[in-house]
């Protein structure tokens, strides 16, 4: 995103792993942060702190990035955005996706943990194809 400003757009979908204790509440915490205008900060904070994603930790991260932690806790309690999360999970299932991360660069499927250079090559090729580089 930093390297190609204005040329690429990142769309994130949720796919909380079914056997991870905190995956669903972490997705909810991210959406709660989004409703408070700080999705990106929460997203990166959780990635950095993973797998410490229990409710108390999520509230602490919320405070650290400057959003209302109590609101995050309430959203987790109610799973306010479960419809969004379930919609994304269904999308993944419909697309036969079971691995994370699963990235699509203009439709080009890249599964798994890939080095940055690998991803960059795909981005450059797609930008080239669009004449945007």
């Amino acid at each position: 995103m930093d390297e190609y400003p204005g040329k690429i757009r990142l769309v994130i979908k949720f796919y909380p792993y079914k056997y991870r204790d905190f995956a669903h509440i972490a997705a909810q915490a991210a959406l709660s942060a989004r409703s408070q205008g700080k999705f990106e900060q929460m997203h990166y904070k959780m990635l950095a702190e993973s797998p410490k994603l229990d409710k108390a930790s999520l509230m602490r991260y919320a405070s650290e990035i400057g959003i209302d932690a109590k609101r995050v806790a309430a959203d987790i309690e109610k799973m306010t955005d479960s419809a969004t999360i379930e919609r994304d999970k269904k999308l993944a299932t419909d697309m036969d996706l079971f691995n994370t991360p699963a990235l699509f660069v203009n439709g080009r499927r890249i599964l798994g943990n890939v080095p940055y250079e690998y991803l960059k090559k795909a981005i450059v090729e797609e930008l080239d194809a669009l004449g945007k580089k």
Binding site: K18, F98, N99, L111, G112, N113, V114, P115, Y118
Partner: protein, 368 residues
């Protein structure tokens, strides 16, 4: 059969060697698996083991199982997760996909022509496809399945019970699951590539540049020393000093995998192991330290990234690696090749043009 070739074929292969001015070099035999220099040859029929004859019913059953995620503990992984047909039966990643929350540590090899391989895995720890198939299912960082549980999961599906009866005249067992998958894998074949046609006498099958590349392959570049024969692999193990991949050495989750594999392989100092010992884990012989199985070069253009740890993204990088005399401490005493830029280009053309066939069509099964 694999080793049976017509006299005409052998003559054609020898003629190629003579054209290239390459004399046969006797390699050290023994642990490295070499059995003398094998000339290139057209690929014959896939060898079929006597105790697992092919049948249409068995191949179809194997195809279903190959794509079935029931074979993994959490239902997220099938054999095809790491051997995707649209990616030349690899996952195209430097380090192969992993079971969720874990990390793998090696590259996923292609299954194209895997039926010709004498041993399986980068360290050769399986000697048949039947033996190989169950390893990833049990592996904690691959499919993480319990085989007793898996048998019952498959037995629960009436279509599978019927398919096993058709294929084997018997019920579901883990070994028959492996046999069916192995039978399917033996159908994943690429032959009659330009090199095969050239060796069979069609001199127009290769361009002049590709022919020049082949001469380098057989001669100055010395690739034939390990990549000879119809399968283009000596089936041996070589410590070429391939650099470590930081994806393996720098990720604490991969460190878990390294120690785990060493532990279950009986490596005494597994708690302090931080690198991949390769074939040594199987044999415990010092000369096998960091030795890895020679892969086939057939369809190599489509199976990037390369080496057991996917450390090289392109064939150009692989050529540069060997042109520089391979890696530090390589036990093969490989010297720099001194290839010119034109020679590297020709070699590259041979590897891409001569060894690539048509896309393999895959019929995706309906999973019951």
């Amino acid at each position: 059969m694999l080793w049976a070739k017509s006299k005409a074929t052998i003559v054609a292969a020898l003629a190629v060697l003579m054209l290239a001015g390459c004399s046969a070099v006797n390699m050290a035999s023994g642990d490295s698996g070499e059995r003398g220099l094998s000339p290139l040859a057209p690929l014959g029929e896939v060898p079929i083991p006597k105790d697992n004859p092919m049948s249409e019913a068995k191949v179809e059953l194997g195809r279903m199982l190959f794509f079935d995620r029931r074979l993994s503990g959490d239902g997220t992984m099938s054999c095809a997760s790491c051997h995707m047909p649209e990616m030349a039966f690899t996952d195209s990643l430097p380090i192969s996909l992993n079971y969720p929350t874990t990390r793998n540590w090696r590259n996923s090899p292609t299954l194209i022509n895997i039926g010709y391989a004498r041993t399986l895995f980068h360290d050769g720890r399986a000697v048949s496809l039947e033996e190989q198939a169950l390893f990833p299912m049990m592996s904690a960082f691959e499919m993480n399945q319990n085989l007793d549980f898996m048998e019952e999961e498959i037995r629960e599906v009436p279509q599978y019970v019927a398919a096993f009866k058709d294929a084997f005249g018997a019920g579901v067992t883990r070994y028959r699951i492996a046999q069916a998958i192995a039978a399917y894998e033996r159908t994943i074949v690429s032959k009659n590539v330009p090199l095969d046609r050239y060796l069979a006498g069609d001199v127009s099958a290769l361009s002049a540049d590709a022919k020049a590349g082949m001469e380098l392959f057989l001669g100055k570049a010395g690739c034939i020393r390990c990549h000879g024969g119809a399968y283009m692999s000596d089936g041996g193990y070589h410590a070429n000093g391939v650099p470590e991949n930081e994806m393996v050495t720098d990720d604490p989750r991969t460190a878990i995998t390294v120690r785990f594999v060493a532990k279950v392989s009986g490596y005494e100092d597994y708690e302090n192991l931080t690198e991949d010992p390769g074939r040594y884990l199987v044999t415990k012989r010092p000369r096998d330290w960091k030795a890895f199985r020679t892969p086939t070069l057939r369809e190599v253009a489509r199976t990037s990234p390369y080496m057991h740890n996917g450390v090289f993204a392109t064939l150009e990088e692989v050529i540069e690696f060997y042109d520089g005399g391979a890696g530090e401490g390589n036990s093969e005493r490989l010297a720099p090749l001194g290839l010119s830029a034109d020679e590297k280009r020709s070699l590259m053309l041979f590897l891409t043009e001569a060894l690539s066939g048509n896309e393999i069509e895959v019929k995706y099964p309906k999973i019951p």
